[in-house]
Symmetry: C2
Subunit: 204 residues, 2 copies
């Protein structure tokens, strides 16, 4: 069994990343979703160990010191990080592991996992982005305005990404993400053993 692929998903706040990830996990086998550690407070409905591992600042600092995080970063006053053990275990089991993190963290992951595939999910336009944040209804208009003001910055570094996937229709977006992952398993780096085996057989 070949090792799984690491898929890093980022996107504007309000691009619908969370919903896309949820649908991906519900719709297909062989995927695992990395659970981040964070020091921010749970939002209504979020569950410990599924949405996030909620940590105090002290606990988070200990994870950093013990090198238990692939990457970590600060965002709007809180820390977010990717626990290493879960990712490695699932990759070893042949699962493709999705990480949903922001760009600066993603670029750190790419340094440690050069074969990781980086995707940025975007709404088709700024109007849709604003509507989605408002309709989510989990944040005050104040926070939404701050998020929109930050959104332009959220795409800084996206030039280094492999794919930009448009989330206009949820189902189409989910299918495209799945297809990209499956196509990525046809990459030459992953398939050279087949060619080498044929070459060996032919020159025997």
């Amino acid at each position: 069994m070949s090792r799984g692929k690491l898929i890093v998903v980022s996107g504007f706040s309000g691009a619908g990343k969370g919903t896309v990830m949820k649908e991906i996990m519900n719709s297909y086998d062989n995927y695992a979703l990395s659970v981040s550690a964070t020091t921010r407070s749970p939002r209504p409905g979020e569950v410990e160990g599924i949405s996030y591992f909620f940590k105090t600042d002290d606990e988070f600092r200990q994870m950093i010191e013990k090198d238990e995080l692939i990457e970590y970063a600060g965002y709007v006053g809180h820390y977010y990080g990717t626990p290493k053990q879960f990712v490695e275990k699932n990759l070893d089991e042949g699962k493709d592991v999705f990480l949903e993190i922001e760009i600066q963290g993603a670029l750190k992951v790419k340094e440690k996992y050069p074969d990781a595939v980086l995707m940025f999910i975007t709404p088709p336009d700024a109007k849709t982005l604003r509507e989605r944040l408002v309709n989510r209804g989990t944040e005050s208009m104040d926070v939404i305005e701050k998020r929109l003001a930050r959104a332009a910055e959220e795409a800084n570094g996206v030039e280094a990404y492999d794919y930009i996937v448009i989330n206009d229709n949820l189902q189409e977006c989910v299918e495209m993400v799945d297809r990209i992952v499956k196509c990525e398993h046809n990459r030459t780096s992953e398939r050279m053993s087949i060619i080498n085996s044929i070459r060996n057989d032919l020159t025997k």
Copy 2:
């Protein structure tokens, strides 16, 4: 309308490239198949202007001199080349253009078209490769043995390819090729204009 993508397909003799290309053209819209120029003689059933443009050595030399070929190369004593005009016309019309050429030619194409996607089609193993060449029945066992002896060399340079697609089941192979092309249209280089447009709208 955005410009089409150039898709270069290579593979072992007997990998079934020709059949895959035929099925791709029959099954999907928006693809065009480049017709190569060659100095080799037509095989039974091959049609001028569809299978190849069959040229004399003199005619081929003139195309080279007039810079009418994207690339050309010698193979088993004959010349093969890719007429430029057809490719450019179809790319400009937004079609994805497939070229079926061998690796050395493909690498020359990649120099001129850095965004070209390079795919290598392979049977799952050497046994299948041999069976397909024998079953094709268009060549003597002598020629087949020579082709098999050459096959190991035919993969030289494949490390520079983007994808290796296994042709075990024809329909699955055809679908995978189509999916890879459609996924490649989500590449960051092709989609940055959307991000830039959203950034501009948000900072207005």
